[in-house]
């Protein structure tokens, strides 16, 4: 029994692949560097946080009241008074030159109106070229003014009017660390993309160099060949799952609140889907160059339409259901569920099942295509 096991044709094929992989330092680098480097880079760089907005001020009132308003802005962490301007024209010029993110115009009758207990108008100009920053800045400004209004009305009337307050509790990511979102999304993306890249490279290389003929003349069956080709890539990339979890934890403090086993298994399914995609690409191409160009058709949609780095809700309505066809999306949900929310399979089973189905389909189709090509 054990003799048959050791004499199985899979082993020489497997060790051949492993040795080739070992020799290919560039490929190894490609498999081990991105999870660490990319994750760190992306975690730091992809940060849409809005703080320290530069606020330009035109104060035509120059009164105690106007200074109260300006200091209310200055005290909030969101705004930094950058400069004072003598006219609205100057302010708008600075705004269009990109020197400011927001401008505050206090008209000359501000103090007068306040004294008369009339509503005093001020103008807030927000650069909303970046609509995300713009709307967040608008929200901050509204909160600053609202808080000041409350204070003023408190001082004016002794009776406190009954108010409804929003008490916000932030779940899962109380510090609102954007890197947590990026890291949990990127892991799956890297696993799928690397899997497909490495698999297509190793499959197509044999075709390109011509050794595939020699391989086909050996008695090895196509199942053995494809298994041996997938196994080393699978093993190496499985290491990456743990590696990227570690990097996420050490560099960004991403927690692991749920079961590591579930995360690991999902990651392995991701790797397998990636290998499946890569193998399918390889069966359609003749050279590495073609394979890589082909992957430009496949990888951008996989990464863009996954909600891995940007919220799915920001996509057009009709596009949102399409993300369900993307294994990267399901892994992102799984990773966030396990790492940030600490939930388990009882909640995440739909995504896990989806991953299982994708893996079966992709690996199945790739094996079928590969086989068809061999014969």
């Amino acid at each position: 029994m054990s003799d048959r096991f050791f004499n199985w044709r899979f082993w020489p094929l497997f060790f051949k692949e492993l040795n080739e992989l070992r020799r290919n330092r560039r490929l190894i680098g490609m498999m081990l560097l991105p999870p660490t480097l990319n994750l760190v880079l992306l975690g730091f760089a992809m940060n849409p946080e809005v703080t320290d907005l530069r606020l330009g001020i035109v104060d035509e009132s120059r009164s105690a009241e106007s200074r109260e308003l300006i200091s209310a802005f200055a005290e909030s962490k969101s705004f930094v008074p950058a400069a004072y301007y003598s006219s609205v024209e100057e302010l708008t010029r600075a705004l269009s030159g990109g020197e400011l993110e927001a401008g505050l115009v206090v008209p000359s009758d501000f103090a007068k109106k306040r004294a008369r207990h009339e509503s005093a108008e001020v103008q807030l100009l927000v650069d909303s070229v970046n609509s995300n920053t713009g709307s967040i800045a608008g929200g901050y400004a509204a909160r600053v003014v609202g808080a000041l209004n409350e204070k003023i009305s408190l001082n004016r009337t002794s009776v406190q009017p009954a108010r409804a307050e929003s008490r916000v509790s932030l779940f899962y990511n109380a510090g609102l660390q954007n890197s947590w979102f990026i890291v949990t999304g990127m892991i799956g993306m890297l696993l799928v993309m690397l899997g497909s890249l490495v698999a297509s490279a190793s499959m197509v290389k044999e075709k390109e160099v011509g050794t595939v003929e020699q391989l086909l003349m050996t008695p090895a069956g196509s199942a053995e060949i494809i298994l041996a080709k997938m196994a080393p890539i699978f093993l190496l990339l499985s290491v990456d799952i743990g590696l990227s979890t570690l990097v996420g934890n050490f560099v960004f403090g991403v927690p692991l609140r749920g079961s590591f086993t579930l995360l690991y298994f999902s990651g392995m399914l991701c790797v397998l889907s990636g290998i499946g995609i890569g193998t399918i690409i390889a069966t359609f191409t003749r050279s590495q160059q073609q394979a890589q160009l082909m992957s430009f058709f496949v990888n951008p949609p996989l990464s863009m339409l996954s909600g891995a780095t940007t919220p799915i809700e920001a996509m057009p309505q009709w596009m949102q259901p399409l993300t369900n066809l993307n294994p990267v999306k399901h892994f992102a949900v799984l990773a966030r569920g396990v790492m940030l929310k600490g939930v388990g399979l009882e909640v995440l089973y739909p995504n896990f099942l989806a991953l299982v189905v994708f893996t079966i389909i992709l690996v199945g189709v790739s094996a079928w295509r590969f086989r068809k090509q061999l014969n």
Binding site: R9, P12, K16, Q214, M217, A220
Partner: protein
């Protein structure tokens, strides 16, 4: 004559490995200078330095007094691999190279036209370089190198993988250029080509061991050549072993259907041979003496330098099952292959029995490789029936493949693995029993001359060595059917002999072998041959059979100016009738040989070419090949 190329103490190191160990060369203007040597001797490194594309580690090379880098404008360089843009047409390739060399458009067109005419390629002007056959690619590459009319032409194994007819045409073109005053340096594994050089240098292990005209080199050997033919070709191997033991015979070399004995005295040698062979019951049919060829000298010199490979016997473990006599190992009936509208192979019938060596011969692009791939089940046939190792249904079953050895024309080892890892892989995947593996791996390393070097990465080996390892890998599992597609392409003469010794050994033990080759003298050792032209099997039979089927007579002429004589005769006769074999001229005539010889002598005398010797000869396979292919080409 002025020195066109001067090389002084040239040394080239690659990461501690000394490829060239101090080479000196002086080559005169208008000379064809040949560099010959076994694989890995450092020839390519010398060419790359001369071409100005690589810095030497030390020493210097000057061309017409200029450094190699400055000399580039008047140097043409043709590499081993086709350095053409495959996706450009013939005309576009020429135009690009011409424009890079700052030629005027008129010049490019005129010269391009001229060289394409000269190489008989004008029809293919608009064809993509990638879809030309190997021989045509090399001719186009030559035309590209020539378009700037360089003063010096460097040719690094330009005819590797090119069929004998194209090879001759290529050399005819070179000879024509040399008479125009161009200096040429050529490396070649074909020693009959080297005969056409003015001077040759023998390079071995990074050093030059001998330089001189082919005649000088032949003389330096100081021996006479004695050709011996046996009645039965199968006995030639045994005869070689016997003669090797006779002290008065300095060296025995096998050439296809004959043995060349190197002897100090012809009479003594002949007598000794007759005695020895007679005692062994081998009938020697023909004795002929003459000056040794360049190949004789080359082989003798390499043996002296210790460059010969061992051919240790294969550690065979299994016996063949008893088979019915004349069982068919490879069978094809009306086999055809169509690629789109192109009929690559047309209704071929082949039968190869166990123990038989079948040679498939043909020009580049005749469909040999396609046929082999169909026969071993790699690609499906469009029509016809096949039989392989007793199976006629599924040729792709792992049971069938276990019994087949295959060595593809394209390189078949994993370049990025070490030799040891390659051997382990093939031993494992063919499930060679564990207890035999060590012995078999050792055997492969021995026959490749790589003992103790198993951990070299395969891609660092010269081509010829890889071929030997690949052969070893293909036979480790003791197959009963062996497919070899140009196994000796680019392999030096000594190694080729070693190859054939092993192939013969396998056939003797009942292995069926199907082989293709461009070395026709090797093909003499096949039991049967098939000639393919444009996808059809036009002639088939034993070597002697196909020769006998060739009508007319063959006359060999030795003249003082073989090239000029060939050019002259080609004008007055059909082209296929005249071919150069080294320094000899072969002419195929229909009428009485004696009568024709007189005619030829007279004809050549009018051009002041004197005939030194002229006699009728038996056809060699190469003669047959040339006339079969050329006749087919003339038909259309």
């Amino acid at each position: 004559m002025s020195a066109a190329i001067q090389v002084r103490n040239l040394v080239k190191n690659y990461n501690g490995f000394e490829a060239v160990k101090g080479v000196d060369l002086d080559i005169s203007a208008g000379e064809i200078f040949g560099i010959i040597g076994p694989d890995g001797a450092g020839k390519t490194s010398v060419f790359q330095v001369l071409g100005g594309v690589m810095e030497p580690t030390s020493g210097e090379a000057r061309m017409y007094g200029k450094s190699t880098v400055d000399a580039r404008p008047f140097v043409g360089y043709l590499t081993q691999t086709f350095s053409l843009y495959q996706d450009l047409s013939v005309a576009e390739n020429l135009r690009y190279v011409g424009q890079l060399r700052l030629l005027k458009r008129r010049q490019i067109e005129e010269r391009g036209e001229h060289y394409l005419q000269m190489f008989d390629m004008a029809r293919f002007k608009d064809r993509l370089a990638g879809s030309l056959s190997g021989g045509m690619k090399q001719k186009l590459a030559l035309a590209c190198a020539l378009i700037a009319e360089p003063k010096i032409l460097l040719l690094d194994e330009p005819t590797t993988g090119v069929d004998p007819v194209s090879r001759r045409e290529f050399w005819d073109a070179l000879a024509g250029l040399a008479t125009g005053g161009m200096t040429m340096v050529v490396a070649t594994p074909y020693l009959d080509e080297a005969e056409r050089c003015h001077r040759v240098a023998l390079m071995y292990d990074g050093e030059i061991h001998q330089t001189g005209t082919p005649a000088e080199i032949r003389e330096q050997l100081g021996l006479q050549r004695l050709e011996v033919r046996a009645a039965d070709l199968a006995q030639l191997g045994a005869a070689e072993d016997i003669l090797n033991r006779i002290p008065s015979i300095n060296d025995v070399q096998r050439f296809g259907d004959r043995l060349d004995l190197m002897v100090a005295n012809v009479e003594v040698g002949e007598q000794a041979t007759r005695d020895a062979l007679g005692a062994a019951g081998i009938q020697a049919t023909e004795f002929k003496s003459g000056a040794p060829t360049l190949e004789n000298s080359f082989v003798a010199k390499l043996r002296e330098l210790g460059g010969e490979l061992k051919t240790s016997p294969f550690p065979r473990r299994r016996q063949f099952r008893e088979r019915a006599a004349d069982a068919i190992a490879i069978g094809a009936h009306d086999l055809g292959k169509r690629f789109g509208s192109f009929n690559a192979v047309k209704n071929i019938n082949i039968e190869v029995k166990y123990g038989e060596i079948y040679g498939l011969l043909g020009a580049n692009g005749a469909g040999k490789t396609t046929t082999i791939k169909m026969l071993c089940g790699l690609i499906g046939a469009s029509s016809g029936k096949m039989e392989l190792a007793g199976e006629s249904g599924s040729l792709r079953s792992s049971f069938v493949r276990q019994r087949i050895g295959y060595m593809s024309q394209k390189f078949s080892l994993y370049d990025d693995l070490t030799i040891e890892e390659n051997l382990n892989f093939f031993a494992g995947v063919y499930q060679v029993p564990r207890e035999e593996r060590e012995e078999k791996k050792r055997w492969v390393l021995e026959i490749s001359g790589l003992e103790g070097k198993g951990d070299l990465v395969t891609c660092s080996l010269p081509g010829g060595w890889k071929q030997r390892v690949a052969f070893g890998c293909a036979v480790m599992h003791e197959p009963s059917v062996l497919f070899l597609d140009e196994p000796t392409s680019g392999v030096d003469p000594l190694a080729r002999r070693a190859f054939w010794k092993m192939i013969n050994g396998f056939a003797d033990r009942g292995v069926a072998v199907l082989i293709t080759t461009h070395y026709l003298e090797e093909a003499e050792q096949c039991n049967r041959l098939g000639f393919m032209v444009a996808g059809e099997l036009v002639a088939e039979g034993t070597p002697s059979g196909v020769k006998a089927a060739q009508g007319g007579h063959l006359i060999e002429l030795i003249t003082d100016e073989p090239q000029a004589a060939a050019d002259l005769l080609k004008h007055t006769r059909e082209r296929w009738r005249i071919s150069l074999f080294g320094d000899r001229l072969h002419v195929v005539v229909d009428a009485n040989a004696e009568f024709e010889i007189e005619g030829l002598k007279k004809e050549l005398a009018t051009a002041n070419i004197s005939v030194l010797e002229a006699y009728e000869m038996p056809y060699s396979l190469e003669d047959v090949f040339i006339s079969v292919v050329e006749k087919a080409r003339n038909r259309g």
